[in-house]
């Protein structure tokens, strides 16, 4: 018998694919209402022009963009899923993986890199037991890299949501994580 702790214990047919669109009808209709305000027609070229802003809104609503959300957007705009995915994977702003409540981002710009951002990132990975681009199992923290944030005098810089930590050393990592619980 498996050691799963979920209510379906034993009756599980494998990990089900997450379907946010079905799971959260009110969020889906919020997105749909937004899309309705745009001038979506059968003109694919024109719809394409709306793609980024729709994805932006979708990520705002669902916090990330798994495949079912991508497909929903694709269908609404009469685009192919592949095209939507292409855009999401190109812009680092978009993510198709769930993100934690606290988004910890280490600046990987030149100045931070030179001043040891790599070591900070390694320490964060070790401390949280996740890789870059992943989220902890409790959904609390996600870890990522960031292009230069323009705070080079404070290098190396770590951002947690909107909060900036400057002159970060590896010793500061536990404190940064601790701050998040407050």
């Amino acid at each position: 018998m498996s050691s799963c702790t979920c209510s379906k214990d034993g009756g599980c047919s494998g990990i089900e694919e997450i379907n946010l669109i079905k799971l959260f009808p009110e969020k889906t209709s919020e997105l749909d209402r937004y899309i309705e305000t745009l001038n979506i027609t059968s003109d694919i070229e024109q719809n394409r022009g709306y793609l980024i802003q729709v994805l932006h809104r979708a990520q705002g609503i669902f916090s990330y963009l798994p495949e079912d959300v991508q497909l929903h957007v694709a269908n609404k705009l009469s685009l192919h899923l592949s095209e939507v995915y292409g855009v999401i994977s190109f812009y680092s702003y978009f993510t198709d993986k769930p993100v934690g409540k606290y988004k910890i981002n280490v600046c990987t710009g030149t100045a931070c890199f030179v001043k040891g951002a790599g070591r900070i990132l390694d320490e964060l990975k070790r401390y949280l037991s996740i890789e870059e681009g992943e989220t902890t199992a409790d959904g609390k923290f996600s870890l990522g890299g960031l292009r230069c944030v323009g705070a080079c005098s404070l290098a190396p810089v770590v951002m947690v949501n909107d909060k900036v930590y400057g002159n970060v050393t590896t010793d500061m990592v536990p404190q940064i994580i601790n701050d998040c619980s407050e």
Binding site: E67, N75, H80, L81, E83, V84, S89, D96
Partner: protein
């Protein structure tokens, strides 16, 4: 009209021409890699991503990519300034720095533009070394292999899949060193709505996309004494295989091919054309029934597995429209493993059916579970025209020196109506020939339906048959199919019958045919060869094929009979649009 000078030679070109077009006009082929133009289908990949085509333009600080720089009046271009030569060599060097140098064992060995360029530019060593991409090879599908380690990001496959076919599988994903062309979420093609038309394989200038290769399975089957191995050859193979084997494009190689297949060791050499005649019997029967009842019109042809998979994914609401007749490949398999097996006293599992197809989707089709009654596949192995060419070379057979020989019977006899299946318009024309005779009860002589012939993406005609005005249309290329299907969905079409082929121009331009390297005049020659083969045939109507008549009288009774339905018809399945 614009006047310009290229290497001090005067040239005049139309507005909108590029430097590349202008150079071509005076007989200079500027090297290209990402640029692709299929003029007769109006398809162009003009991403300007590889920069291998750069030339010097007077009074411009930077070199210009010839493939996407429009000509202006008075332009002065130097294609071989030292700066241009150096830049091109550096570009090539950089491309090679992240390219596995495995030419000897690559599927596109001898058909690769990168290899050609390295030879032309006489590169003696690769200057740069650096990180190499490391992607897993996608071997999950029956039809297509993707080895992204070899991808040069030219995006030609995207143009083929998204613009021309509008299937929409492939996209540029990620950025920088991680950038790659793949289906959404990096899936394998099997998990997508890919129809396996193979047009991306033809478009890919390197070995990143190639066919799944089953030559060795065929060699093994041929050498297995316990099996009876029969081969069938699709209509479009005979007019293209010669290109692989030293004949001129457009030469009909039917007789030589039959000889070569016997030399390879097949027990019986049969013809998919026989089954194409059979398809016409069943499909025309269905057409006439639907027209008489004025029901479920238009009827759509169903011989192309690429097209079948396309509507299953993208137009499930029209699933009742296509004819239920199986494709000739599958009809052949089903008849071989029933009627023929009985005739020679063998069990279906002791017969191996190998098909030679211009097509990669046929590999997928042969593997569909509904075509394996009791777990025994009707078609065991499907190889492409290219693979057969390779086998003939491997066997050391001097193809051009071979004498002609004839197919075996009973499954080798065919009519002119069958061979034209290989060209866009052919299936419909073949059906009209039979429909006209059946409806009038006459033996009509005027059977050339010219209006539906040709490589154009969509054609239509109104044909008067026995006082009935039949409105018919023919489309090839899935982009054209999509346009027509949208019209049908909106109730804007009044056709009775429509032929649809996934590949632009039909099977003669299938994804398994010898590579044409953008020389579309080869397609024109293949097409002419097909109609030459048709007009040279004594019998040119499917229902007059004596062995088809025998098959019905001995076995199937009549078109549309319960046994015919069991063996020769199929069902479709709505599939996910991802």
């Amino acid at each position: 009209m614009f006047n310009l000078k290229i290497n001090n030679i005067d040239v005049t070109v139309e507005e909108g021409s590029t430097i590349l077009n202008a150079a071509e006009k005076i007989g200079i082929k500027i090297p290209t890699l990402c640029h692709m133009s299929l003029d007769c289908f109006d398809v162009e990949n003009r991403t300007g991503s590889c920069r291998i085509c750069v030339v010097e333009v007077a009074n411009r600080p930077n070199l210009a990519p010839a493939c996407c720089t429009p000509v202006v009046e008075g332009m002065e271009v130097k294609t071989n300034s030292i700066r241009a030569i150096n830049a091109r060599r550096t570009m090539l060097d950089l491309l090679l720095s992240d390219h596995p140098k495995e030419c000897l064992t690559c599927a596109k060995n001898g058909n690769c533009s990168l290899q050609d360029l390295a030879a032309e530019m006489d590169l003696h060593h690769v200057m740069y070394e650096g990180a190499m991409s490391k992607y897993e090879i996608d071997l999950a599908s029956e039809a297509i292999v993707r080895d992204l380690n070899k991808c040069i990001m030219c995006r030609r496959c995207e143009t083929a899949c998204n613009t021309m076919q509008t299937v929409g599988i492939l996209t540029g994903a990620n950025r920088g060193f991680e950038a790659v062309v793949s289906p959404a979420s990096g899936k394998s093609l099997t998990e997508t709505k890919c129809v396996f038309c193979g047009q991306c394989v033809s478009a890919c200038p390197v070995g990143a996309l190639s066919e799944m290769n089953y030559k060795y399975d065929v060699w093994r089957a041929i050498n297995d004494e316990s099996k009876t191995v029969v081969v069938q050859t699709a209509p479009a193979v005979r007019v293209a295989i010669g290109e692989e084997l030293g004949l001129e494009a457009g030469e009909i190689a039917t007789g030589k091919m039959v000889t070569a297949l016997r030399m390879l060791g097949f027990d019986k050499v049969f013809d998919t054309d026989f089954a194409a005649d059979l398809t016409i019997m069943e499909e025309t029967h269905e057409l006439i029934e639907r027209v008489k009842a004025n029901e479920n019109l238009p009827i759509l042809t169903s011989c192309c597995p690429g097209w079948v998979k396309f509507f299953e994914h993208q137009f499930p609401e029209l699933i009742y429209m296509p004819s239920t007749a199986k494709s000739p490949q599958q009809m052949f398999g089903a008849i071989t493993k029933s009627y023929y097996a009985e005739k020679i006293g063998k069990k279906p599992e002791d017969i191996v059916v190998v098909s030679v197809m211009p097509c990669l989707a046929k590999k997928y089709e042969a593997s569909r579970p509904e075509f394996a009654p009791n777990g025994v596949r009707d078609v065991d192995i499907a190889i492409s025209t290219r693979e057969l060419g390779d086998m003939i070379k491997e066997a050391g057979i001097q193809f051009s020196k071979l004498d002609d020989s004839e197919y075996d019977n009973p499954l080798g006899e065919s009519t002119g109506a069958a061979v034209i299946f290989g060209a866009s318009g052919g299936v419909l024309e073949a059906a009209l020939r039979t429909a006209a005779d059946w409806l009038t009860n006459e033996d009509l002589k005027d059977i050339d339906f010219e209006a539906v012939r040709g490589l154009e993406g969509s054609k239509e005609a109104t044909v008067n048959v026995a006082g009935l005005d039949l409105k018919v249309a023919v489309v090839s290329g899935l982009g054209n199919a999509r346009k027509l299907l949208e019209r049908i969905k909106n109730g804007e079409s009044e056709y009775h019958a429509i032929e649809i082929m996934a590949c632009p121009g039909g099977c003669l331009n299938g994804g398994g045919q010898p590579y044409i390297h953008e020389d579309t005049s080869i397609l024109e020659k293949r097409k002419e060869a097909i109609y030459r083969e048709d007009s040279g045939k004594e019998i040119r109507k499917s229902h007059e094929n004596p062995y088809i008549k025998q098959l019905y009288s001995e076995f199937l009774t009549e078109p549309g009979s319960p046994l015919a339905h069991k063996l020769l018809h199929t069902k479709y399945e709505a599939r996910e649009n991802v």
